[in-house]
Amino acid sequence: MSAAVTAREAGFVACTRCTRVWPMGTERCGRCGKPLVSRDTHSLSRVWAWWVAGLMCYFPANLYPMLRTQVLFTVSEDTIVGGAIELALHGAPFVALIILVASVAIPIGKFAAIAWLAISVRRGSVATPHARHRLYEIVEYIGRWSMIDVFVVAILTALVQLNLAASIKPGPAALAFALSVIFTMLSAQSFDPRLIWDRADDDNDSGDRA
């Protein structure tokens, strides 16, 4: 495999789904049917649109209660962070850590990472394209795991229905959180990673290549 000439430099447009190459200007991939664009110029607008939607859902997801637990006659409501703190105090710090990482650290890290990637594509960055591409892969891989908290709520709601003894109901935050995860996944999927590498080429080209 030789040094990189991009499909665009060679006058082709590549399908990002099945990797088939077509002459520039072809509208749809003749193999898998995906619409072809050499560089998705609307990519960043879609990234930001989903990003904002995700962030807007993330606030209510943290402010409203996720779970409504009723034990005998006392009812308690837990937000995500509140529930994790309670777990840590009840002697399950490891599980509390999983929840905090999956529901707080990962989503916030994702918002920051996607925003930084999108900005760096426009403005350039000191980080190497390798580092940024790696970050993009991590964001794409890890995003789905935030769904775990929604599943835990679903499981507990189905399971803990013991009449007066104990029962658990979902709070409004569950829906907001699920939407937030889905929107950020869509935001990451909208990003065209080829933009990272184009920009890197432009930076190098300015000096040595005509």
Binding site: M1, T6, A10, A14, T19, T69, V95, A154, W197
Partner: protein
């Protein structure tokens, strides 16, 4: 490799990295080896011996496990004489009433419908290829759909969610795992192995040219 060489090549012989757009002349590596993008290190081609058959077997197993997991309880709870068992359908449909119903549908889709659909689509698309039959009608579109569904198949996340739920209510009541939990745990492994064996480029090539045609191209 000089540029002109690539520009004159037959388009069907070229492969472009989906992540960074680097262009290469596709060359089937030996079984068990991988062709990796020199620029961004994305795996481009990774053929393995009898991969088709193994992937179909894995998909069949996943299908059985998901269906089984729907009917058997995955967690059992008891407290002060009250006992309750939850199946997957109970969990998926637990958000009843009002806007939370949407969530119920979403959860059902993510943990049951999408994994099921992926298994069925994979068997439908790859089955005839493995047995040297022509690709079934709509195979290209359906394989594209199976690929699009990949990030939305969340059975393995649900399995970890079960474990977290177990600890979360440990002081509230006695909990124990049911058969469906172990099915989901097995499903996690199947999914990982499935992704290891799947070489997407080989499947696209096979769908376009037929399985045997691709086999003949191997020593290129």
């Amino acid at each position: 490799m000089p540029r002109i060489d690539i520009a004159r090549a037959d388009l069907a012989e070229l492969i472009a990295c989906p992540q960074c757009d680097a262009l290469y002349r596709a060359k089937m590596p030996a079984h068990g080896e991988r062709a990796v993008c020199a620029r961004c290190h994305t795996v481009l081609i990774a053929p393995r011996k009898r991969a088709g058959m193994i992937i179909i077997a894995l998909s069949g197993a996943s299908l059985v496990l998901v269906l089984g997991a729907v009917w058997f309880p995955f967690l059992k709870i008891s407290r002060q004489g009250f006992v309750n068992e939850a199946t997957l359908l109970d969990a998926a449909l637990s958000f009843t009433g009002g806007p939370l119903l949407v969530l119920s549908l979403a959860v059902t889709a993510l943990i049951v419908l999408v994994p099921l659909a992926r298994a069925i689509l994979t068997i439908y698309v790859l089955g005839p290829l493995v047995f040297d039959r022509p690709a079934p009608p709509g195979a290209l579109r359906l394989f594209a759909l199976a690929e699009a569904l990949r990030p939305w198949s969340m059975a393995e996340i649900f399995a970890l969610g079960c474990a977290v739920a177990l600890v979360k209510v440990a002081d509230l009541a006695n909990l124990s795992f049911g058969p469906a939990f172990w099915m989901f745990a097995a499903l996690v492994f199947l999914t990982v192995i499935h992704d290891r064996w799947m070489c997407r480029w080989s499947v696209w090539e096979a769908l376009e040219h037929g399985y045997t045609a691709r086999q003949r191209k191997v020593p290129a």
